[in-house]
Amino acid sequence: MVREVSESCVESLLAEIVLSYCSGFYANKPELAARRIEAIGFQVGHQLSERYTMDRPRFTDNLDAIKFICKDFWSELFKKQIDNLKTNHRGTFVLQDNRFRWLAHMSVDPSVQASGNIQDPSAMAENKSAQATGMHLYFPCGIIRGALSNLGIECAVSADISNLPASLCLAFIILMPLLWLSQNLFSSISLQNADYAALLVQSIIF
C-alpha cells in the first residue's frame, strides 16, 4: 500500500517555495529565483526517477526514456499519463498534458513576477498573471529535467505558458540538441543539408 498525503500538502509547499524565493530571497531577481525553484524540482525528479527505475533495465534510446516519463513517471506523480507526445526527431520533444493538476489549484499571486521583458504594456496585466504561474512551472520543468538526467540524458526543459491562465492544458518542451548532435554527427557523411548545418551551428552556441 503506497503511503499517501493530501494533495493540499504538495500544492501548499509548492506555493510557499515560489513565494519565498520570488517575494522573499530574490525579490528583484526573478532569474535567480527561477533557477532555485528549478533546482529543487531537479533534485526531486532525479530521486523519483531513481526510485521508479530501480527494477528496470537501462533504456536503450531517448525515445524510450521520454516514453517512460510520459507514461509511468507521469502516472506515479499525477495519476494520469501525458496526453500527447510530439517530436521532430531532431532532439525536440513536446509533452502535452491536457489537464495539468497543479495548474487547477494554483492561486496566482500577481505580485510574483517571472523573468522576461514585457515590451507591450497593454498586455501587461494578462501577461503578469501568466508569468506568475510561469514561476510555479519551473518546479515541474525541473522534475522532468532531473528525471531525464538520472537516465543519462542532459536536456533543457521549458513550459509553454502561452495558453495560461485560460486553459489547464500545458506543454513541456524538452530540448536535447547536443545529444542529437553527438548521435548524428559521426553517422553523417557530409554536410549537405543546409538545415543540418544551421542546427549544427545553433547547437554549438547552445
Binding site: R3, S6, L13
Partner: protein
C-alpha cells in the same frame, strides 16, 4: 438546522485528493537542502521553515474548517484534540496524540510517531541544530492563530480583560520541539503553549 457532526479524520482523508507521499517527502527534502545551501546558517533555515509553515497553516485552516465541520466555539483542549486527530490525519494521513497537559490547560504536547516528512531522511552531522520538521511547528502555530476559542478561565482570572467581557480569542501560541526522531528520540514531540494575551477589544463600548 443542526450543525453537521464533526467527521472523523479517516473519512475526510479518504475523500480528499491524495498524492504519492514520496513526492511530498522528496519535495520537502529538496526544499530543506536548497535552503541550507542558500541560507547557510541552520538557525536561519529553522526560521524560514517556521515562517513557511505559518503561511501554509494560515491557508490550510480554511480547508480544515470546511471539510471537518468543526464548530468554532471550542476551547483550547478540544482544539488541540481535533488538530491532532482530524487535522494531521486529513493532510498528512497520520494521527498525532495529545498529552502532557499542564494544570491550567494552556500547554500540551502533540506526539507524532509516524511522520511522512522524514521517510528515508537521515541528518548529516553538519546539520546540528537543524529542526528538520520545523515547517510543522509553523503550520500548527499558523492554524491555531486563525481559530477562535473561548477565552480560557485562567486568563479571565488574571483580569486581562478591560472592556466588556470578550468570549472568543484567537490563539497565539509558542510551539517548540521537545523530542525529534531524527536526533535519536523515539517520537516527535511538539510542545504547544498558549500565550497570555489581551483579547481584541470591541471598537465601541457597550453600556456597562
Amino acid at each position: 438546522m443542526a450543525p453537521a457532526a464533526p467527521k472523523s479524520g479517516d473519512v475526510i482523508f479518504a475523500s480528499v485528493d491524495r498524492v504519492n507521499a514520496e513526492l511530498f517527502t522528496l519535495t520537502y527534502g529538496a526544499i530543506v537542502r536548497q535552503l541550507i545551501t542558500d541560507l547557510e546558517e541552520v538557525e536561519e533555515v529553522n526560521k524560514q521553515l517556521d515562517q513557511m509553515g505559518y503561511n501554509i497553516g494560515v491557508r490550510l485552516v480554511d480547508e480544515f474548517l470546511a471539510k471537518s465541520s468543526v464548530s468554532m466555539c471550542v476551547d483550547f483542549r478540544e482544539t488541540a484534540d481535533v488538530i491532532a486527530k482530524v487535522g494531521f490525519k486529513m493532510f498528512l494521513g497520520v494521527t498525532a496524540s495529545v498529552t502532557n497537559w499542564d494544570a491550567e490547560g494552556t500547554t500540551c504536547s502533540l506526539i507524532l510517531e509516524d511522520n511522512p516528512l522524514v521517510d528515508f531522511v537521515e541528518l548529516p552531522d553538519t546539520c546540528q541544530g537543524l529542526h528538520y520538521c520545523n515547517i510543522l511547528s509553523g503550520v500548527v502555530r499558523g492554524a491555531l492563530e486563525m481559530l477562535r476559542v473561548a477565552l480560557p478561565e485562567v486568563f479571565k482570572q488574571l483580569r486581562l480583560i478591560r472592556a466588556k467581557e470578550v468570549e472568543e480569542v484567537s490563539m497565539k501560541t509558542e510551539v517548540t520541539w521537545l523530542r525529534d526522531m531524527l536526533r535519536g528520540d523515539d517520537v516527535f514531540e511538539l510542545q504547544v503553549k498558549l500565550l497570555k494575551q489581551v483579547p481584541e477589544e470591541y471598537p465601541y463600548k457597550d453600556d456597562e
